[in-house]
């Protein structure tokens, strides 16, 4: 692999790590302690999904698992549960990345939405199974809707900021490898 491509991969990996930590940091800011009726989007998951459908080679699953575990620990969630689901989601998406390259965006969005909804339902199911208290349904549903709605703007923003885009069909890297 050429120097330029490797460099870019490193850069994208570091960008993922930085953005992930930034999202966690922003969520921890003590702005208000009032319980709210609706939940914001799960930006870390959105970030991971965007990366997995664009540059899955730049983010190893170990990194996803590590950041997911840190988020679980910091956000008082059952440690490891959402991280495991996130890793599963990521692997599901990265295996479909090649097939989705020339699909129109709504199709990609649909796949992401379905995958996220399935993950959320699985999360609640496991919580129920292990006799853990579930969050109010309204909050989970608003979080699902917000997360799915946050996907297209995130894709756009990351495209402009980092040039993170899907590989065009037949695109090759500097050495002529298929990407």
């Amino acid at each position: 692999m050429s120097d330029g491509a490797a460099h870019r991969r490193w850069m994208l990996q570091i960008a993922y790590l930085t953005l992930g930590l930034l999202v966690i940091f922003v969520q921890l800011l003590p702005l208000t302690s009032m319980p709210s009726r609706w939940a914001g989007p799960d930006m870390f998951t959105v970030l991971t999904m965007v990366w997995m459908l664009r540059r899955p080679d730049a983010v190893p699953l170990v990194l996803v698992a590590m950041l997911g575990l840190i988020a679980d620990l910091l956000f008082q969630r059952p440690p490891g549960l959402w991280a495991a689901i996130l890793v599963g989601l990521s692997d599901f998406l990265r295996r479909r990345e090649e097939g989705l390259r020339d699909a129109p965006f709504p199709v990609e969005w649909g796949v992401v939405a379905l995958a996220y909804v399935a993950g959320s339902i699985l999360y609640r199911l496991i919580q129920t199974l292990f006799l853990l208290p579930n969050a109010p349904l309204g909050l989970t549903v608003t979080q699902m809707i917000m997360t799915i709605a946050a996907y297209p703007p995130s894709v756009l923003a990351l495209n402009y900021l980092l040039g993170l885009r899907r590989a065009a069909p037949g695109e090759v890297d500097a050495l002529g490898h298929k990407r």
Binding site: L28, L29, P30, T32, A65, G80, A84, V87, A135, H177
Partner: protein, 316 residues
């Protein structure tokens, strides 16, 4: 080249699948261990938070401050209207202040008459809020005081006015306060003036409902709610809030603490009340083997009657 890549794929795919399985097993294992031995993993979680969050503090404080400043700027638009409101409230407050001063003097006189001593054990440690729970599903805040400041799990936490929550999780430098609004929070309270015992059960809303009230008819909107000290969880008599009725007719508690801006909290250093462990030592029936020999020179104990005296049952 492409062929080369494909052989790579064939070679690496099983490895990759193995890696995925190992990762998933590891995470599921952490979850299972947490489910089985929650206290140990929670201690580990507190240790991680203790390492991570204080190191972010240098960035957190300015960012929070500037966002709050922005919010304040927005409210400048309503300055005149607010000013008028404040003036009106000030007038009312002056009247209340006069009443409060009179009551304070009266209270002091009455306390003096009764020779009353307030609980000397109730001292406090103040802490600053560093971070919140980071998730809309959990209501808790992180304080910058921890085990090295002598914080102990279970102590009550107040802001200037009312009860905020209890300590749950202590790190060396940080401690977590579960707020009364969290779904895991249960606090025994007394409703005054009727004296009804109840529980405040957090349900992720701003005004948690009152449950297990003995007689709902005696509870009216506007009644004061204070902690009851039942079960030894909290010291008794801390102000919690006021009773309010929601649209479905359910009794809820409007919390006295200002949950919009939790900035400085005080942790009440409460010692557990002396427990009476056995019943026999206080009013004991006469010992069957006869009166106990008393040590020379000691005063006769009230429990064991001295020789020759009539048994307590006979004294009426």
């Amino acid at each position: 080249m492409a062929k080369n890549r494909d052989t790579n794929e064939q070679y690496f795919a099983p490895l990759r699948r193995l890696g995925l399985a190992v990762l998933l097993l590891l995470l599921a294992g952490i979850f299972l261990i947490w489910r089985i031995d929650s206290p140990r993993v929670e201690r580990f979680r507190m240790a991680v938070i203790d390492r991570v969050v204080p190191s972010m503090d240098w960035a957190m404080t300015p960012v929070t401050a500037s966002i709050e400043m922005f919010h304040d700027l927005q409210s400048y638009a309503r300055l005149v209207e607010q000013n008028q409101q404040l003036r009106n409230e000030l007038q009312q407050m002056k009247a209340w202040k006069e009443a409060a001063l009179q009551l304070e003097q009266e209270n002091a006189r009455l306390l003096d008459l009764n020779n009353m001593r307030l609980d000397p054990q109730l001292t406090k440690i103040s802490g600053e809020v560093m971070a919140d729970s980071g998730s809309p599903f959990r209501q808790s805040v992180l304080l910058n005081v921890g085990a090295r400041d002598g914080i102990v799990d279970g102590w009550a936490t107040m802001d200037g006015i009312g009860l905020v929550g209890r300590i749950a999780g202590v790190g060396a430098r940080t401690s977590r306060v579960i707020l009364l609004t969290d779904t895991n929070s249960r606090v025994p309270v007394t409703v005054q003036p009727s004296g009804q015992r109840a529980m405040i059960v957090g349900d992720n809303t701003a005004a948690p409902p009152l449950e297990f009230v003995e007689n709902l008819d005696l509870v009216r909107p506007g009644d004061r709610v204070v902690s009851s000290g039942d079960g030894g969880v909290f010291p008794a008599g801390l102000l919690v809030g006021q009773v309010a009725q929601d649209r479905n007719g359910r009794m809820r508690v409007r919390l006295a603490a200002d949950y919009e801006r939790l900035k400085f909290l005080k942790v009440l250093r409460s010692q557990p009340a002396e427990a009476i462990t056995s019943t026999g030592d206080i009013v004991s029936p006469l010992a069957p083997e006869g009166p106990m020999p008393l040590p020379e020179g000691s005063a006769p104990a009230t429990v064991a009657p001295a020789e020759g005296e009539p048994a307590p049952e006979a004294v009426q």
